[in-house]
Symmetry: C2
Subunit: 80 residues, 2 copies
């Protein structure tokens, strides 16, 4: 059965996010006074698995082995 | 009033996504047989605005002026 899995990978709390900092700076220069700003990556993957739990487990393995760096990233997995 | 705005920016349908292609290839090499895979960027921005509609309008302006390239990107805005 096919599951649509959405993986969101963001920097852990407290990690420096130079991209977010640069965007906030650019927005300020354009006249947008924004507050907190954070960035993340989103991956939508179609996974063939027995059930939702198996799809989630495969997504977790994909994060650990390729997409995320567990030292600096946290990730969330949503299975539909 | 502060609003937490989530902006998702993805490539338009039909645009070549070389990053997604590279990730699928790498996953195949690691033994993960995934189906469709797409990538997107997520921005969480705290916006000070009169109401939710004004926050959404500011987020739209931020997308048009800085974050998205309207030629190749589509974006969605969620206001909380």
């Amino acid at each position: 059965m096919k599951f649509d899995v959405t993986i969101t990978i963001a920097l852990k709390e407290g990690m420096l996010d130079p991209e977010a900092r640069a965007i906030r700076h650019a927005l300020a220069n354009l006249g947008f006074a924004t507050g907190d700003l954070s960035t993340a990556r989103l991956f939508r993957i179609s996974i063939d698995a027995e059930d939702a739990a198996a799809a989630r487990e495969e997504a977790r393995a994909i994060c650990e082995r390729l997409l995320a760096n567990p030292v600096i990233h946290r990730y969330t997995i949503e299975v539909e």
